[in-house]
Subunit: 424 residues, 2 copies
Amino acid sequence: VTRATTAARAAAAVSAERLQALFHSISEVGAYGRAADGRHGCERLAFSEEAHIAHQLFAEAARETGLTVRRDRIGNTFARLGPADRETAPVLTGSHLDTVAAGGCFDGAAGVVCSLEAVRAVSLAFRESGAALPRPLEVVAWANEEGARFPPAMMGSAVYAGSLPIEAALSATDSEGISVRDALAARAPGEGTQPLLPPASYLELHIEQGVELEAAGVPVAVVDGVQAQLAGDWRMIGREAHAGATPMERRRDALLGAAALITEVSGIAHAHPPGVATVGKSVAFPGSRNTVPGLVEATIDLRHPEERAVRTMAADFIRAGEACAAQCGLSFEFTERWRSPRVTFSPHLVDLCSRAADAAGIPALRLFSAAGHDAVNLAPITPAAMLFVPSTGGVSHHPEEFTEMNALVQGARVLSATLALLLG
Amino acid sequence: VTRATTAARAAAAVSAERLQALFHSISEVGAYGRAADGRHGCERLAFSEEAHIAHQLFAEAARETGLTVRRDRIGNTFARLGPADRETAPVLTGSHLDTVAAGGCFDGAAGVVCSLEAVRAVSLAFRESGAALPRPLEVVAWANEEGARFPPAMMGSAVYAGSLPIEAALSATDSEGISVRDALAARAPGEGTQPLLPPASYLELHIEQGVELEAAGVPVAVVDGVQAQLAGDWRMIGREAHAGATPMERRRDALLGAAALITEVSGIAHAHPPGVATVGKSVAFPGSRNTVPGLVEATIDLRHPEERAVRTMAADFIRAGEACAAQCGLSFEFTERWRSPRVTFSPHLVDLCSRAADAAGIPALRLFSAAGHDAVNLAPITPAAMLFVPSTGGVSHHPEEFTEMNALVQGARVLSATLALLLG
């Protein structure tokens, strides 16, 4: 039996029914905003009751598939096929089950569900070929990929990969001062197990959250890397004043300076194509109808495939912030929250993914990811790569986020074939 | 005894000590942000426990001064000197005791305290002259002048004057859906008494919340009228999208459109001097760092001495909102919340105030008010006028709002002299 044959068998063994059944059961957790056609959004903020239930559904499905489940201290759930030995590193594959506030059903969950089904299919293919699995296969559901309530994003994988100390992660707080430690303690606490061995490779399937696959009419992309990112918080500080009695020329209106900067931010992104720049949060204080705002609190998110371009955009942003503040008699404060470097995935593993798509007879593009993913945290410790499936209209972080079930199945087939090639 | 003599005696009878004692006792209610020099802000949102305590302190002080206190259904507190008869209309004077969130100590409370002291002083002056008071004097503390938690502003005086039905006022809700009815029921409910007779005149002393008195070095102004105002809510509606994976040209970023409009708002005010335009509240939703905002909710406040100019500014604003929305692929919604017409105070009463200042030997400017006041609601039902005292630096709706105690005393003296001339 050739490796390509096992890969094709692994691809063919993926069950659309099983995939769909688990995906739909997880999608019901945190469902909201159901439309007439039955589509809906999902809200499962990290460390919430909903996220916990989704992890439990995943764990149950993994146990039914014959996998052994464990949970670590930060709330990552691992499901292993094969012996828990200390000599053979596993191949790891997965994604996350948490969402942003008012998010969609596919971001994260698609990858976890496809990974479990791909692992099942690979094990069937090996059994059919009369071969034993040469190393364990492990499916992971990372905790807190979004960082929506508890920054930083990609927390669970960062702790796993050793780039974020567990104590720092547990001490991270939400806007109300509640810590990850407290939020985790409210549910079943993790068992404190550490990975037996670093994984031999890491694969992650995710929705594209962009439009290139849809535009090309192709169901799967092999991802070459992830763009660099810089995230920060900023404030414009002026002086509150009466909205009726303060002449325009005597105002130090924090919102006016913030508005000028928000406009500049868009210009900075346009000056550095294909970079993107986003002010996602912006609140004026005290937020009273008849008071000139004395303070605006906001965020900034800058991304570009080239790290140097992100640095330039950040410098342009800070300069623009200071200029907008000076123009309106305000002061400007900026606090960097995190930087993700540009990540280039393992060329060997990327190439293997492409060959797996060929073996499965599924067309696949090559793309560079615009969004950060847990694979970014895994790349420094093991060969890593990603697969994308299409996002209808590029919509994500929204109840209308959608991927055709057939595209998910095609993605799981390529993932399964890749695992087979890796093991074969 | 001439009227001018009684007026001078009434002015002289004002006690700085009594004025200061009551002002300080009310200022302690809701005090926050105490600076090294002992100055601080006040937060007494309408219908809160703090506002209720302030009304009680006023009522106690009024009773000690020999006045009869009653409270109406919307929470206005009235204190009357003289018989509660149905034949002689009282002269009414007062202001409010509620503040905006994170407000100052002087806006409103200054007028209530000065009014009570002025009424006491007038009654002393009449006793000294051996004359009986020809009509009752009534001091009022209006409920919910700011409208900070429960719009509309100037609610208590609007109900009193009959321009706002009591049921509409009681059914007004805050942003969490709590009604004025519920908030009032949580404290001592009012007795439901209606005014015995419409007042014969209305006088209100208030801080200027501007800089003209300070610039002129004059302690008191007689106010000719109040500028016209239009208040509304607006929304920019776009589409949420992933901040990393959505190219700039595919975004429908609600915050980008809102920022453009906020910049335009400032331009609209500058194009219509001496008009002012303020976006006091602005919040982007969902407010997540890595989501392009799909919605911004904000307010607009437009004011100008000429009503026609306010109408033009409002039309310009709506046109700009639609243009900014179109430019960013958004939709724009505007809801008008209230309009206050330009108010011209009673020329006879304004003239009387000026003559009272002369009789008291206190220099007084003539000003046009930039801020709305309860007097605006009284003007349609009775001759009304206002007195201003200086605001240091023009600062208001802020913990640093400040008026020298000596200026308050001078203001109370002119008010007392005006009451004496009105009665004499």
